[in-house]
Every structure is written in structure tokens, then in C-alpha cells.
């Protein structure tokens, strides 16, 4: 039987350091903190990884560890405690794929970082396309229905934010063009 401790550390780092960093960035909104969270996650794995019995759970374990570290470090757990169960989905506003395709990746990142804390983490994990809904629920330690609801609401919110940001960018371009023509 393959023991989890035998999972090659180097391969784990190679496979997960980038998605872990991006998840850390979406939580902390700071590159330096995201790097520290990633580093801490692998440090914890080096020390405690052998306790994990099921190799299939390694990915979820790493993301859960990073998320817990973020909560512990920031002492912001209270911000993530929901007093009300959310189970409803919302219809997202329309956003043309061709417009989305033309948006700069930095603006997409900004729209993600603009989301409320409770939406940002599940939406980030959703867009990573590496985790099932059940895995996202395990990582964030919230009910499955809440995960799906937050993703629905978070995606809708992100579209609104993207719409605002692209409008602002478009105005800047128009303004610069006008200045160029007038000057």
C-alpha cells in the first residue's frame, strides 16, 4: 500500500505551489502573505503530512491547511462565521464571453479580490477547476449547500465588479484618446 508519507515532496510542491499561492493571494490580497502561507503549508506538510492516511486527500489537506493558517494568522475567523444559512442561488447578470475574453487578466484578478471574504475563497477554488464542490466544502469547512450558494452569489457579484471595472477602463481609454486628439 502506498503511504501518504511516501508521496514525493518535490512532486507535491511542483503540482500545488502555484494554485496554493493563488488561493493564498485571493485570501490575503498580499503577495508577500500569499508566499508565506504557501511556504507554511508545505512546512506543515513536511512535519505532519505522514499523519494523513489517504493519499487521495493530499490536495484537500494542503488547501485546508493553508486556509486554516490564514484564519489563524489573521484572527479573522469571526468574519467567516455565518449566522444565517445561505442556500439560494442567484441569476448572474449577463456578460458576453467576447467581452470577457478581451479583459486583461489583472482586471479579472482585481474583480476577484474585490469580492467579500465569504465569496472570495469559494469562488477562487471554483475557478481553479481542481476541486469538486464537496472538496471545496471540506477545505472551507462549511456545508455543501452554503458553498454552492456562495459560489452562485460570488460569481454574480464578480460579473458586476468586472462590468464596473471594464467601464472605468473604457472611460480612461476614451479620455486619453480625447486628450490625444485635443493635444
Amino acid at each position: 500500500m502506498v503511504h501518504v508519507a511516501d508521496v514525493e515532496f518535490e512532486r507535491l510542491v511542483e503540482d500545488f505551489y502555484m494554485p496554493l499561492y493563488r488561493f493564498g493571494l485571493s485570501l490575503s490580497r498580499k503577495e508577500s502573505e500569499a508566499a508565506d502561507l504557501t511556504q507554511h503549508t508545505f512546512l506543515t506538510w513536511a512535519v505532519k503530512g505522514h499523519q494523513l492516511r489517504d493519499p487521495a486527500k493530499v490536495k484537500t489537506w494542503l488547501f485546508t491547511t493553508l486556509y486554516r493558517e490564514f484564519l489563524a494568522e489573521k484572527r479573522r475567523a469571526a468574519h467567516f462565521v455565518e449566522t444565517e444559512e445561505e442556500t439560494e442561488f442567484v441569476e448572474p447578470p449577463h456578460f458576453s464571453p467576447s467581452v470577457a475574453n478581451a479583459i486583461d487578466a489583472n482586471i479579472v484578478q482585481k474583480a476577484l479580490l474585490n469580492l467579500e471574504d465569504r465569496y472570495r475563497a469559494p469562488v477562487t477554488l471554483f475557478y481553479m477547476q481542481q476541486h469538486s464542490y464537496r472538496e471545496i466544502a471540506e477545505i472551507l469547512e462549511i456545508p455543501l449547500g452554503t458553498v454552492m450558494s456562495r459560489i452562485s452569489r460570488g460569481k454574480a457579484e464578480m460579473r458586476r465588479s468586472l462590468d464596473d471595472l471594464t467601464t472605468i477602463e473604457a472611460r480612461k481609454i476614451v479620455s486619453l484618446t480625447n486628450e490625444g486628439q485635443n493635444g
Binding site: 508519507a5 505551489y17 494554485p19 493563488r22 513536511a46 512535519v47 470577457a100 487578466a105 464537496r134 459560489i151
Partner: protein
């Protein structure tokens, strides 16, 4: 379900995810299959998600992060030869070390100047994201102080003549590092890092004059001053940095 509800339900549908095979989602999927308008909406929704996913996954990851983690990889290979009881005891020590901010990595000697230089230079080879953009050095040092990074800096006279672009904080093996970027005359940036001397004990207590070292097409200069170890890095040859120290 009306069309708005169907769109709401479809917005969380993920093909292949077992959790989205429940009756409500299947009903919404069937409705979309029977209604060209809904089918079009859903196709566009999935395309939008695919684009956003791709853009988010193209986000830059600091170049130095992989090399920082590599340092651990080399050491953790030895782990399988250690018994688990010892590891548990080590874990307690490490946890305390992390808590008290003195962590330098598992069984890891103090980092060398070369490791420090390689990691930080790799971080700034692409213009680094700055946490504060300002051309006022006072504002930058205030920001660094507020964020727990070295801030009482003795900046070489030649660098002080340049306009700062901004600053940020970094972490290196558990230590706070201050980074101030200056605008060079040719439009490129030159970067000044400062960390507590204790982070680089091998730098030597007496090295007050800069030690120059090339890294690819970049040049670096490292020295100690007061409580801090300094590193300046910029694209170019030795002469391109020496002028900031008044040695050429």
C-alpha cells in the same frame, strides 16, 4: 421554475461534478436543452467561466517562491529515514520556533548570502508588485516601519539621488525584508533590500563595503550597515551599480 430560477440553478452546474447531479439541477439542464434561448445563455455562461478560469490561472507567481520551497525539498528527502517519534518532537520545536519568529526551516543552516541574493533577485527580475507607490522616501520608510520591516535605512548617497518608485515588504526564511525600488536614469528600476543582520549571519559583521556579484545579466552589491544587511540589485554590469556607491 421560471427562466430566472433556471439560470440561477444552471449558474452553479458543473459537468462531471457529482454534487450537481441532483434533481433540481437535472431539471434546469433539461429545460435548457428544450429552450434555445436558455441553451444559448448557458453556453455563454460556461464559456465565460472558462475564460475567467483561464485568466485567473495565468496570474503571475513570484519567481522566488519555487526556489524558496526547493530549499526545503532537498532537506525533507532525508525525512523518510527519520523515525516518526523524533519528527513529532521536532514538530513541537518547530511550532515554537515559528511562534517566536525564529524559524529558518527544517534542519536548515542559516542561509548564505548567495541564497538570499538568488531568491530576492529572482523576485524582482519581473518588476515586483509594490504595496506603496510614492516618490517620497519618508512615506516609504513610514510604511515599512508600520509593517514591521527594516525602516531606519542607511541608503547609499547615489541611490538617494534617484526618485523612488515605491516599496513593499517581503519575507525571507521568516524574516521581514524591506524593498525600495528606485527609478534609474534609463527607465529601469534598481532595488534596495534590507533585512536584519541576524538573518544573514554569514555576511560577516565587518563587511561594510559592498561585495559585488553578477547573477545572469543582473549585478548585485551586498554589505552590512548598522543592524541591517543590505542588497542592491539592478540590470546591467558592475559599473552600473558602482556609481551609486561613489566608487567610480
Amino acid at each position: 421554475m421560471d427562466k430566472s430560477e433556471i439560470r440561477a440553478v444552471l449558474s452553479v452546474y458543473r459537468p462531471g461534478d457529482p454534487e450537481t447531479e441532483d434533481p433540481r439541477l437535472q431539471q434546469a439542464k433539461a429545460a435548457a436543452a428544450a429552450d434555445p434561448e436558455l441553451a444559448q445563455w448557458w453556453a455563454e455562461h460556461q464559456e465565460f467561466d472558462r475564460i475567467i478560469s483561464s485568466k485567473l490561472q495565468s496570474g503571475e507567481v513570484p519567481a522566488g517562491l519555487r526556489s524558496r520551497l526547493s530549499a526545503w525539498e532537498k532537506r525533507t528527502v532525508q525525512r523518510s529515514n527519520w523515525n516518526r517519534g523524533f519528527l513529532l518532537a521536532a514538530a513541537s520545536i518547530i511550532a515554537l520556533a515559528v511562534l517566536f519568529g525564529s524559524w529558518r526551516g527544517p534542519f536548515q543552516p542559516a542561509p548564505s548570502l548567495a541564497e538570499y541574493r538568488d531568491e530576492l533577485v529572482s523576485f524582482v527580475k519581473l518588476d515586483p508588485p509594490l504595496e506603496l507607490r510614492s516618490s517620497e522616501i519618508v512615506r516609504l520608510t513610514e510604511f515599512l516601519q508600520k509593517n514591521g520591516a527594516p525602516s531606519q535605512l542607511d541608503i547609499p548617497r547615489g541611490l538617494r539621488r534617484l526618485d523612488p518608485a515605491g516599496c513593499r515588504t517581503l519575507r525571507f526564511r521568516g524574516q521581514d525584508v524591506a524593498l525600495i525600488c528606485f527609478k534609474r536614469e534609463d527607465g529601469e528600476l534598481v532595488h534596495l533590500f534590507a533585512v536584519k543582520r541576524g538573518a544573514l549571519p554569514r555576511l560577516g559583521q565587518k563587511r561594510e563595503t559592498p561585495e559585488f556579484a553578477a547573477q545572469g545579466d543582473w549585478m548585485t552589491a551586498a554589505w552590512g550597515g548598522g543592524d541591517y544587511a543590505y542588497l542592491v540589485a539592478g540590470k546591467g554590469d558592475r559599473a552600473s551599480l558602482e556609481k551609486y556607491f561613489g566608487t567610480s
